[in-house]
Symmetry: C2
């Protein structure tokens, strides 16, 4: 470990070798996913047409620790361990007595936390003889992580990208193709689902729900092909816990104790990855854990806690979660990764039980926070991450009012180099304050 | 220091505290810059209208080591020390017995090596009471580094950006504005030089030469305003030597000795920064040093070694350098940072004296190399850096033929996230092989 008062850098051998599974530590058992047709709890075999056995096992495991395979660690080492950084310049700008730390996940080649699970998923699929993975992507964060990960294990990747994003955001499409991913604008004529939609509406510009249907159908119908999801499911959140496990170690090594942990929430994967490893002892140690979502898609703060479908069309299992309804259409905010009608079931349960606080913030204040961060700390954050920064700044200002030397920590899930059009809208007053 | 067989990470206290000045170690004295009108060697006072005294002193210093101010080190720590990485996956793909290492400068917030000097220049100007810096930018690498650096010292920054790039590459413009830089499409009506050009040709789309004229005029005519250059001059190359000094230490700590060092060359700043600290002992230790330039702008390999102007219009001092003529217009290759008619005088002298080898490569093979790098090592390199990668791969293949366990090292000067349109052209066969 090294620490210059600013960056906490773990040595390679200090990188965690196990992921942390929250399931055995939940305050009550997780309500099971239900089959979309029978409404009965789903069985492992129901998932086998599209997921490898090892990931299904992890999805339902009650082991607290799950060993990270050496081959996955070897790929993680391309960019991990990631730094924990004290935002000293931001603290000075705010004139706060609080200390602000952030864990920076934007150092991965695809620029976000997403490869933590993409690499693991690609690996387990490869081990079970799968040659191609399919997935959907909106803005392209997840699709680029999976294109990157599959390439490293010599697999193929087919990404169904929401058609409007495919045309409006060519940079992420090119990034996926640079790593060898095949990117299909969705709806497409590759699948029954796509063709049916195009027949009715040839100009349909697509949605994440449609893209999911196409990716799942493609995987179910083809040999040696599986489907891969970037958030919500237990095994996905599990793989992300390397973030929080590293952060926990980093705090311990510099003898610092966070008072509040903050992350932004779409499906919940970066938030869970950062915060779950702290949850078991949070109450005892007086750590508050805060989930931040966009006011435009206020699942945790205004949704209902009930069973709902994960996709728009109703093909996926029913999950017990906070939901705005599976047909909810959020306004087109720039934080595309946070526009999801539901939330991870484990996260939903922890919010319902009062273990995690939830707060919703509007778009303009998040960019105001992101701009101040860029102008003090240098890094230009992703619009999603700006939600976490907004609340970290609010907490630091509260600490200033109250004269408290609080320790505030948040997860900086990714950089904003592919989201500069959003900053342009903000700088030139074109951003809607939804 | 930590080393996992792949990444060599220096501890913060191992970061160099002095820059290395090549001037006293040159095999012969550097021919002085000449005044553009009198053709006499320029005096320090000639430069004072646009540069601070400390940088003029550094430009002409014969001290071998120059102390890095603590305030500059403090900013460097935002992203430095940078990693030296062994490209194991690339080696495996090439099936070469050679070891390939790269120093990665893309981890800085602006994404390249440029802030190493931008931060130093902003600092010294601030210390001497300068409140605003002006500069020119083509594709935007340098302009974004200076916008970033000036913001950290509470200064203003005005960037004259070649008009055609301003409109074609909005992302770099927005990046500069996100850090608070003011970006003016050049030619503009802000300056006499710009107005004169627009009068004759209102649709002029600009050139780097015109943008330099505007930036210099703006600085010379306004109080508390100086001009800042991103390459070519001695003090600029000096600030970049932190790259090579770190790399040297990293090699020593893992007990490895490079056989060949490779960098791409536009004006020479990233190349010099990486290689200069190795030059003094290169012959003794049998290290070859290779400068790579684009075949489309073959300054070192096909230019003449003579006095020429640094800009197109002929306003700057005459420099003794390899040049294609100050009116040479290179074809529009994607490696915008390598499209310069001349080269740094120190680098030119070292090539003329046979200390440094020079090689020119065509565009398509550089992208072929960059794509292989992205698909093995993960990082998508800048088109400029692809030139260095091309030659590193060629050296590794030669080592394979000859069955040699050579150690090859190159500088990866920046990432290519803002250059994905170039990769798109390559992937879809639209790239010209100039």
């Amino acid at each position: 470990m090294s620490f210059d008062g600013r960056k906490v850098i773990l040595d390679p051998e200090e990188m965690p070798r196990e992921w942390y599974n929250i399931l055995p530590d939940l305050p009550k058992p997780l309500p099971p996913p239900l089959h979309p047709v029978t409404k009965e709890p789903i069985k492992p075999s129901d998932l086998e047409p599209i997921f490898p056995k090892e990931l299904i096992k992890q999805e339902m495991s009650d082991e607290r620790w799950i060993r990270i395979p050496e081959e996955v660690l070897e790929v993680y080492r391309l960019w991990r361990p990631t730094p924990l950084i004290r935002a000293k310049r931001l603290e000075e700008a705010l004139k706060t007595p609080a200390k602000i730390y952030y864990k920076y996940e934007g150092v991965s080649p695809p620029g976000s936390h997403k490869p933590n699970t993409a690499v693991a998923q690609a690996y387990y699929n490869m081990k079970e003889g799968v040659e191609r993975l399919t997935t959907e992507t909106g803005a392209g964060q997840w699709g680029s992580a999976l294109s990157f990960a599959t390439r490293l294990f010599d697999m193929k990747c087919t990404v169904y990208m929401v058609k409007v994003s495919y045309h409006q955001k060519p940079y992420r499409r090119i990034l996926m193709e640079t790593w060898g991913g095949e990117v299909i604008p969705s709806p497409s004529d590759r699948t029954e689902s796509g063709r049916r939609i195009l027949e009715k509406d040839p100009d349909n510009t697509g949605s994440l729900g449609i893209a999911i249907s196409e990716a799942v159908e493609d995987a179910a119908k083809h040999e040696n092909t599986n489907y891969s999801l970037g958030s919500v499911l237990n095994h996905v959140l599990l793989h992300q816990t390397i973030i929080g496990l590293e952060a926990k170690k980093q705090f311990e090594l510099i003898d610092e104790k966070p008072d509040v942990l903050i992350g932004c929430v779409g499906g919940g994967s970066n938030f869970a990855g950062f915060c779950y490893p702290f949850i078991k002892d949070a109450e005892k140690e007086g750590i508050r854990i805060v989930a931040v979502e966009p006011a435009a898609c206020p699942t945790l703060t205004a949704g209902e806690y009930r069973y709902d479908y994960g996709d728009t069309v109703g093909l996926t299992p029913l999950l017990m979660m906070y939901t705005l309804g599976h047909d909810f259409m959020p306004p087109p905010i720039h934080a595309g990764g946070l526009r999801y009608h539901g939330d991870a079931p484990t996260l939903s349960l922890l919010v319902a039980e009062g273990v995690i606080e939830a707060v919703a913030v509007k778009q303009i204040p998040t960019f105001e926070a992101g701009l101040l961060f860029a102008r003090t700390e240098g890094i230009v954050p992703a619009p999603e991450s700006n939600h976490a920064i907004r609340v970290a700044i609010d907490e630091a200002l509260k600490a200033k009012e109250e004269g408290e030397e609080k320790v505030i920590a948040f997860n900086l899930s990714g950089h904003g180099y592919f989201d500069l059009a959003a900053y342009d809208d903000y700088l030139y007053g074109r951003l809607k304050d939804t």
